[in-house]
Symmetry: C2
Subunit: 602 residues, 2 copies
C-alpha cells in the first residue's frame, strides 16, 4: 500500500492558491508563520505514517464489535493512536489558546486531517468527533463546563460524540423525543435512546462525553423545542472521581466500511439516574448543534476526498508498476507488454480521479479559508466569509462525498480484477467511502439546504457573492489568451445557474415549494460542477502565471500538470452541467404529484 | 429482505415488447408454447425463493475460504443448491435436446437466471459457469468429449470453469504461457498457473472441468497460438473411476463482494502428470472461448441489472414502510411524519433505479432474442440477429454493470444511514455488484470492443443495422402525438452517434488508431444512453398502444408506469449523451501523447 502524500498539491493550495499567509495579519493568527504551519503539517505526516497508515487494513480486518454487555471491542492500537494524536495537538489545535488550543487556522488543521483521512479514515474519526464536541462546549458552554470536560477531551482520554439521531426520527430532528426533566442548577434527568452514535463506546478512551439533543418537558414542538446537553457516561465529580451516569451502550451497527469506527446504540437513563447538563439556553440546541454539524460537513466532504486521494495514489502507483497488454497500434505480440499507465483508458481513469480529488480539495481549502476568516476577521470581510462558507459547505459535502465514491470506483477499475480483492486497499477505500454520502445529512439533504436555504438566504446575498467571486476568477484568467476559452466556459456556467434559478423560482413564487425543491439534487450536481470548474480555473490561473513568470515554489512540471488537469476537467466533467440544466429546465414535471401507485412494490 | 419479483415487467418484455412467441415458429423452438415457457419461469421463481434467496445473506457472512491444503470451505447449502438447480434444468435447459438440454430459448433461460441473480448472485454463479463451459464442449468438442463430461455437468455433479487469466497476463490473453505438450490422440501434458478462476474448487461438486487456454509447444506467438483444452481435476476413466489429474488449488482470493462465489488460483501439472484434452483444432482456442465469453458478457450485464433490481425493490419497499420527516411545504411539526416515498428526492432516486434497471433489462432481453435468432433462425434473419448481437453485447455488459452499480448506490441512499449497515441487504448488493464492471473484460475493454471492432465490423454493417432498428422504433413512436417529442429525441441521438463517429474516424483514417480509441469509454457512455433510450421508447410505444386500445396483459396502471418511466429516462438520463458528445467532439487532445511525468506518483 502506498503511503499517500499529497503535500505538493496541499502546499500549492495553501501557499499559492488560497493565501494562507493572509491569515497571519489577523490578531487570532499573528503568533504563527508559514514555516511553523508547515512544520505542523510535516509532523502530522510523520504521525500518520507511524500511528495511522500501518493499521488501516488491520483495523478493517478486526472490526469494532459489541461485546453483548455494554462494551465494544476495538483494535488494541486505537488507544495509542488516540493518545498520540491528542498529544500532537490533533484534537484541540484549532481551538483558541484560552480553551487550551494552539489557535491554528482550520486551513492547517484540516490540511493535517486530510492526511490522516488518507492514512486511516476510521481511526481519525474518533479524534475529529472529539474535536467537534469540544468546540461546541467551548463556543456555547460555561467556563465550568469547559473545565470539567474539555481538557480531558483534548488529552484524548475522553471521547466526545454527537448524539442526535433517534430510531423513529432519522434525519428528522423535529421528531426527537429524548426527554429532559429539570432538577435545578442547569441539570436535568435524561431519558431516551440514540442510534448511529459514532464512537459512543470503545476501548480507546476512559469516558464518553455525549453532546446530546433532547426536549425539556413542556418545550415547544418541533425543532424550536430542542435543547443541547452534555451527558457523560461517567460523571466527573468535583473530587475527580467518576460516577456511572446511566448511559448504556445497548449495541452496535456492523457496517460495510469504516469497520474500525464503531457505531453505537445508546440508552440514556434506563435506570432513572442519567444526568445531563444544559448547554447555553433552553430550546436553542439545534442552532448550537449546527456549529458542530457544519464543521462536520466540511470534515466529511474533505475527508472523503482525502480517502479518494489515497485510492488514486495507490492506483497511480499500481499503473506505473503493472505491465499488461499493448497499445492498440502495437500489433506485434512478441513486443513486451506495456505498463498499464500507457493505456489511454487507464490514463483517462487516473486523470478523472485527479480532477475530482484536486478540484474538490481546492474547494475544501476555500471553505477552510472562509471558515478562518469568518471566525478571525472582522467587519465586511468576516460577513462575506460567513456567507461564502454557508453556501459552499453543502456543495463541498455533496460533491466531495459523491465524487469521492465515483473516484474510488475508478481506482478499483484501474487495478482490474485485483481491485475487487482484499489483497489491495482499493476496495477498502471504496467500502469506507460509501458512508460519506450519508453522514451529517445525505446528499438529498445537502441539496435541499443549498436550494432551499443557502441560495435564498439574506435575499440571495450568499449566492450573489459566490457568483461574483467566480466572475473575478474568470476575469483574472481571461487576461491570458490560452485560458480565455476556459474563462468563457466558466462565465457560461455562471449564467446557466442564473437561468435555471429564474426558471425554478416560478414555482417558489407560485407558492409551490415542493416543486421548487423537487430536483434540488440535480441543481446541486449542476452547481457543484460549476463551482469545481471555478476552483480549477483558480488553480490553473495561478499555475499559468507561475509558468509565465518562472516563479512559484513548485517545479514547472507541477504547474503544467495543474493546467493540464484543469483542461481535462473542462473537457470531460464540466459538459455535464449543461445536461443537468436540460433536466431542470424541462417543463414536464414528472416526480409530482405523488404517485405512490406508480412506485408500488410489484 | 424483500423477495424481489419482477415477473410483471419480465412478462411485458417477453410477451409484448420482444416477441417471445415469434420464436416458436422456428424449428428449434417449435416444441414449446408461451404457456410452457412461463411455467418454467414460475418454477424458477419458486426454486429461487426456496434454495437461493434464504441463503443470500448467510453465504456472504460465511465466505468461501481456502483451507490451506487444496480445498475450499463453502457454505453447506451450496451442494443442495447446485444439485436442485441442475435437477430443475437451470444448467442445461438451453442446450439442444441432442446435448441433453430442453432447447429452451435464451430469452426464457435468462429470464429465469435474472430471477436467480436477484435472489443470490453468488450461488447462481456456479450454475452459470457450468452451463457456459458445457455449451463450449457441445459446440466445439467431439461427441466423446461431450459424453465424458457434459452429462455430469448438467447433473450439477461436476463444476465447469473457464480458465483464462494468468498472473502476468491479466486481460491480455496474448501473453498467456500455460504450456501443452502433445502425448498423442488429442491429449497433452499441461503445465501452468491460472488465477481468478471462479468456482475452481469447492465443496458443492465432486469434480471440476476446467476449460483452459494454453499454448501448444511451437505454436505461433500471440492470440493465434492459443488452444482450448478440457482439463478435469479428476480424470474420468472409461470404467467410471476418477484419477487425480494434478490440478491443484493453491489458494483463493478474498473479495469485497460475491464472497460465497469462490475465486481460486489453480496450478496445472506441478507434479508433471496433468492431462488436457484438446477441443477442436489447435490454435483456435481463443475463437472458441469467445463463444463462452460472449454468453458470459450477456450473463454478467443482465445479472448485474437483476441484482440492481433486487436492490431497487428492497429500497422501494423500505420507502413505503419508513415514516420520516415532512414535505417542505408542511410546516407543522405536530403533523405525523410522512412515509419517505413521498419525499421528491426519494422518488427521484427510486425512479432513477427503475429507469436504469428496466431499461437495461429490456436491452438484455433484446440481446437474448438476437441470441436465439442467431442460433435458430436462418438466412438473412440469422445474419442480422448475429450482427445485432455482436454490437449490443459490449453495450449490455458495460451499461448493465456500470449503471447497476450506480443504481445500487441509490438504493443504499434510499435507506439513509441504515443502507450502510449489515442489517439491510442494500450494502451487499452494492458490494457484490462491484465485480460486474471487471468480469469478462472491464468496461474499458468492452468500449474498445465496441468502437474498435463492432462499429467497424463488416464495413459498419452491425452499426448500420442497429441505427436502422432504432429509427424504426422512432418512426413507430412518432405516429402517436404524445410520443413525438421522444421519437425526435431518439432521432437526435442517432444523428449524434453518426457525427461523433465521423469526427473520430479522422484519426483512424490518418492511421492514429490509439487516438481513435482513446475515449472509447466516453463513446460507450454516449452510445449506451442512446441505446437504452431506444429500449425505453420501444417499451413506451407498446405500453402507449395498449393504453390507447385497452389491450395488453397488464392493467392500465402498469402501462402508465412504463410510459412515465420512459419520460423520466428521457428527462433525467438521456441529456448526458450530449455532454459525452461534447467531450468527444472537443478538438483538444488531452490524454496523449503519453505523459507519464504528468501522471507520476508524487
Amino acid at each position: 500500500m502506498k503511503n499517500y502524500t499529497h503535500t505538493a498539491h496541499t502546499r500549492f493550495l495553501l501557499n499559492e492558491v488560497h493565501g494562507l499567509s493572509d491569515l497571519f495579519a489577523l490578531p487570532r493568527f499573528q503568533h504563527l508563520t508559514t514555516e511553523q504551519c508547515w512544520m505542523m503539517v510535516e509532523a502530522a505526516k510523520q504521525w500518520a505514517d507511524r500511528d495511522l497508515a500501518p493499521f488501516f487494513q488491520a483495523m478493517d480486518a478486526t472490526p469494532a464489535t459489541y461485546n453483548g454487555n455494554g462494551g465494544v471491542k476495538t483494535h488494541p492500537h486505537l488507544r495509542t493512536c488516540i493518545k498520540n494524536g491528542a498529544d500532537q495537538g490533533w484534537i484541540g489545535a484549532a481551538a483558541r489558546e484560552e480553551h487550551g488550543g494552539m489557535q491554528l487556522p482550520m486551513m492547517i488543521f484540516n490540511a493535517a486531517h486530510a492526511l490522516f483521512n488518507s492514512a486511516n479514515n476510521s481511526a481519525v474519526g474518533y479524534l475529529e468527533l472529539t474535536a467537534g464536541a469540544a468546540a461546541l462546549i467551548n463556543s456555547f458552554g460555561t467556563r465550568a463546563q469547559h473545565e470539567k470536560f474539555v481538557p480531558k477531551m483534548y488529552a484524548g482520554e475522553w471521547q466526545g460524540t454527537m448524539a442526535l439521531t433517534e430510531p423513529q426520527a432519522g434525519s428528522s430532528l423535529t421528531d426527537i423525543t429524548t426527554a429532559a426533566h429539570p432538577i435545578g442548577n442547569g441539570f436535568y434527568h435524561i431519558r431516551g435512546q440514540k442510534i448511529f452514535i459514532s464512537g459512543g463506546q470503545h476501548e480507546g478512551c476512559d469516558n464518553f462525553v455525549h453532546l446530546t439533543l433532547a426536549r425539556i418537558e413542556g418545550a415547544p414542538a418541533g425543532v424550536k423545542g430542542i435543547s443541547l446537553f452534555i451527558i457523560p457516561k461517567f460523571w466527573p465529580e468535583d473530587d475527580g472521581t467518576l460516577t456511572y451516569n446511566d448511559v448504556f451502550c445497548a449495541g452496535d451497527f456492523q457496517k460495510m466500511g469504516q469497520r474500525a469506527y464503531v457505531t453505537t446504540h445508546l440508552v440514556f437513563g434506563d435506570k432513572g439516574h442519567c444526568r445531563g447538563w444544559l448547554v447555553g439556553e433552553p430550546n436553542k440546541g439545534l442552532a448550537y448543534m449546527f456549529q458542530m454539524m457544519n464543521e462536520a460537513r466540511i470534515s466529511v466532504g474533505m475527508g472523503a476526498l482525502a480517502v479518494a486521494m489515497a485510492a488514486y495514489q495507490n492506483a497511480l502507483q499500481y499503473a506505473h508498476e503493472r505491465p499488461q497488454g499493448r497499445l492498440a497500434s502495437e500489433k506485434d505480440p512478441l513486443k513486451p507488454p506495456t505498463l498499464i499507465i500507457h493505456h489511454p483508458d487507464v490514463k483517462r481513469m487516473l486523470v478523472t480521479q485527479r480532477a475530482i480529488v484536486e478540484g474538490g480539495l481546492s474547494l475544501a481549502m476555500e471553505c477552510n479559508r472562509q471558515f478562518d476568516l469568518s471566525h478571525a476577521a472582522s467587519g465586511a470581510a468576516q460577513q462575506e466569509a460567513w456567507l461564502l462558507l454557508e453556501i459552499l459547505t453543502p456543495i463541498l459535502k455533496a460533491y466531495g462525498s459523491e465524487q469521492a465514491n465515483r473516484s474510488a470506483a475508478l481506482a478499483i477499475q484501474t487495478y482490474g480484477g485485483y481491485g475487487f480483492t482484499m489483497d489491495f486497499p482499493a476496495q477498502q477505500y471504496y467500502r469506507d467511502l460509501k458512508i460519506s454520502t450519508l453522514y451529517e445529512g445525505t446528499t438529498g439533504i445537502q441539496s435541499l439546504d443549498l436550494l432551499g436555504r443557502k441560495v435564498v438566504m439574506e435575499k440571495g446575498k450568499a449566492l450573489h457573492l459566490l457568483l461574483q467571486r467566480m466572475r473575478e476568477t474568470s476575469a483574472a484568467a481571461g487576461r491570458y489568451q490560452p485560458l480565455q476559452a476556459y474563462a468563457t466556459q466558466l462565465e457560461t456556467e455562471i449564467t446557466r445557474i442564473g437561468s435555471v434559478l429564474t426558471h425554478l423560482s416560478q414555482h417558489a413564487a407560485a407558492g409551490d415549494i415542493d416543486r421548487y425543491l423537487a430536483d434540488a439534487t440535480v441543481f446541486m450536481e449542476m452547481t457543484s460542477l460549476a463551482v469545481i470548474a471555478w476552483q480549477w480555473l483558480k488553480q490553473g490561473c495561478v499555475a499559468f502565471e507561475h509558468l509565465q513568470k518562472g516563479t512559484g515554489e513548485q517545479p514547472a512540471a507541477f504547474y503544467e500538470e495543474i493546467v493540464h488537469t484543469m483542461k481535462f476537467f473542462y473537457r470531460y466533467e464540466l459538459p455535464h452541467a449543461a445536461a443537468h440544466a436540460a433536466t431542470l429546465l424541462n417543463e414536464e414535471y414528472l416526480t409530482n404529484p405523488v404517485q405512490t401507485e406508480y412506485l408500488r412494490v410489484s
